[in-house]
């Protein structure tokens, strides 16, 4: 049986007794798992990471990381975790390799071992060519990769990634996913990551928790969560205004029909049988389809259903950015 390497019980963080950044959350991460916290900006993701990585104190509840209590034994936890923060903290004036060696020194890695590990990581993350250059000459993607290497130089048991692909283009982001996946699968490192890119969580994570307004709304594997949505969504637009909702509802494997103007949103459990039946019935009635799209369930839709908002709209409770600014001020 796998053991839980991170456990959080009723974790709450309140800044200056007024602002609840994280509100009574509980979750656990198994050893070797790739676990994702997803939610909009200001949802409480970074605050949770800060508590787990000993940077923020816990107001209520308790947490253990790598078998140590966060409140009581922060020193032991710091030895066992690697962190890739949202901000890029590599030093611009120093070379890539110098940043790595400094990170190694601060984690008390012996010099020879540090050099060896640095070489290995630079190779893995395809940074060998840039190692001797100052970081200020790096591109955004290279900086993120160097930051990842800095978080790994001391062979941590758990890697915390806070928005690891923030601000990267799609190509670079997908490369980053490959690195993260390989680290998790091949090196066996437990990964706790936050992201507000739903497709990132979907592609990478074994299990995710959706957090909004400091509260975990839902957790499970991406496929479990998508299954809860109840299947594929067919969007259909007709040229004629006649209401065929009842007819559509009667078709087998159709679970729900919603009509907005000329557009129908139809939930299907089995696309292969329901779709031909729908098209056939509409044609029989002599109606014409002007537009048709079929969407597999996405985490975006899960998120929409849970919070009533799309990720782009921001948090369900309205002003998550304001929440974040407030927290920064209160610190």
């Amino acid at each position: 049986m796998k053991t839980n390497i991170i456990e959080a019980e009723n974790l709450t963080k309140t800044y200056k007794k007024t602002v609840k950044a994280v509100d009574n959350i509980s979750f656990s991460v198994e050893e070797g798992e790739l676990f994702g916290f997803i939610g909009p900006n200001g949802a409480g993701k970074t605050t949770t990471i800060k508590m787990l990585t000993t940077l923020a104190s816990i107001t209520e509840g308790k947490a253990s990381v790598a078998g140590y209590d966060v409140g009581k034994n922060p020193g032991a936890i710091r030895k066992n975790i690697g962190i890739v923060p949202q901000e890029l903290t590599a030093d611009d004036e120093l070379k890539g390799i110098e940043n790595l060696i400094l990170s190694a020194k601060l984690h008390h890695v012996q010099n020879d071992a540090a050099r060896k590990k640095a070489k290995e990581l630079l190779e893995l993350l395809e940074l060998e060519g840039a190692a001797q250059r100052q970081v200020k000459t790096y591109s955004g993607g290279m900086r993120r990769r160097l930051q990842l290497a800095m978080g790994l130089i001391h062979d941590p048991k758990i890697l915390f990634l806070d928005e690891p692909t923030l601000g990267l283009d799609i190509q670079t982001r997908q490369n980053m996913w490959t690195y993260i996946r390989d680290l998790n699968r091949e090196k066996g490192i437990t990964v706790f990551m936050t992201t507000h890119y739903l497709e990132e969580a979907d592609s990478l994570c074994d299990r995710i928790a959706i957090i909004d307004g400091g509260v975990i709304k839902l957790s499970g594997s991406p496929s479990e969560l998508k299954a809860k949505l109840g299947g594929t969504i067919l969007t259909l637009q007709l040229t004629d205004g006649a209401d065929v909702s009842n007819m559509l509802s009667g078709i087998q494997d159709v679970t729900e029909v919603k009509k907005e103007d000329e557009t129908y949103k139809i939930k299907l459990t089995r696309t292969e049988t329901a779709l031909p039946a729908i098209v056939e019935n509409i044609t029989k009635k002599g109606l014409k389809i002007s537009d048709i799209t079929l969407a597999k369930p996405t985490l975006d839709q899960v998120f929409l259903q849970i919070t009533g908002n799309t990720m782009r709209d921001g948090s369900a409770n309205g002003d998550s950015f304001g929440q974040r600014v407030l927290i920064e001020r209160l610190k």
Partner: protein, 286 residues
């Protein structure tokens, strides 16, 4: 702890060596104060040779000049008096403004990466103080050398040797380190550069002006003199002046020197401890 402090201090100094222009503002400030402010004023020139058309006796004029000279600690000219004060001024200002790098490290998230590493909070604090200390002392050294180059500038007393030089810079090192620890702890405690600048301006300038850095204590009103006399900046400047002006010290001067050095050592140790306690509080988990 020492190896962590060393690694962090080395990181900052490496950045500084790659970008040595960073010390230019500090150095220019010292140069302007000394070369321009220092050269434009010489107290003995205030002594008139005649009043209302009546020539004063040359003996009297010399006596007045000697009396003024003794107020200035026997310095050959104002620059000789001022050099020690300007060095004290410049190290204090450099330690104070050096805190800006520390605030930026916090804002850029670098500080968090240190706080989440398994290193002692003391090494984070002391590396912050050391990095600025090394820069400040380097500027102090350049300022001293520059003062010697100014025409009619710094004039060393006869017998000024290596020991005098070491004594001068040990006195400065102690006062720099003491106040440096205080300013560093302030830098770790604030969240933005504006607050830091407001606090250090409130601290640094009064500290310098309430000392004998610019003018001799003999000219101070009594209320100010009382404060200035116990000000460690006064102790450091007076110690440096004693060594610069006199070269070989008499036994009386030697005991003043030893007393001042003890005073400064205690000051440096106490402020390092206070600074550390303040910083440790500021570096606690948020």
């Amino acid at each position: 702890m020492f190896s962590d402090t060393f690694a962090l201090t080395a990181r900052s100094l490496k950045k500084w060596i790659r970008n040595p222009a960073a010390i230019m503002p500090g150095l220019f400030m010292a140069v302007f104060w000394l070369a321009l402010f220092g050269s434009s004023f010489n107290p003995v020139n205030l002594v008139p040779t005649q009043i209302g058309g009546t020539a004063l006796s040359p003996i009297l004029v010399e006596q007045i000049k000697a009396a003024i000279g003794s107020v200035f600690g026997g310095a050959a000219n104002y620059i000789t008096f001022l050099t020690a004060g300007i060095i004290a001024f410049i190290v204090i200002i450099n330690m104070a403004y050096g805190g800006i790098d520390i605030v930026l490290d916090r804002q850029l998230g670098y500080l968090n990466s240190l706080l989440s590493a398994p290193i002692s909070r003391a090494s984070i604090f002391f590396s912050g103080a050391f990095q600025n200390f090394v820069k400040a002392m380097f500027i102090a050294l350049l300022t001293f050398l520059f003062a010697l180059l100014i025409p009619n500038g710094l004039q060393l007393g006869s017998g000024f040797g290596v020991l005098n030089f070491l004594g001068v810079f040990t006195a400065f090192a102690l006062v720099t380190f003491g106040f440096g620890c205080l300013f560093t702890s302030v830098a770790f405690s604030v969240k933005n550069v504006d607050s830091l600048v407001a606090i250090i301006n409130f601290l640094a300038f009064p500290l310098v002006f309430m000392s004998s850095a610019m003018f001799p204590l003999g000219t101070f009103p009594s209320w100010l003199k009382g404060i200035a006399e116990v000000n460690p900046i006064t102790k450091a400047t007076e110690t440096a002046r004693l060594l610069i002006v006199n070269g070989n010290l008499s036994s009386g001067q030697l005991s003043t020197f030893v007393g001042n050095m003890l005073y400064l050592t205690v000051f440096a140790v106490v402020l390092a401890a206070i600074g550390y306690l303040i910083a440790r509080r500021a570096l606690k988990a948020e």
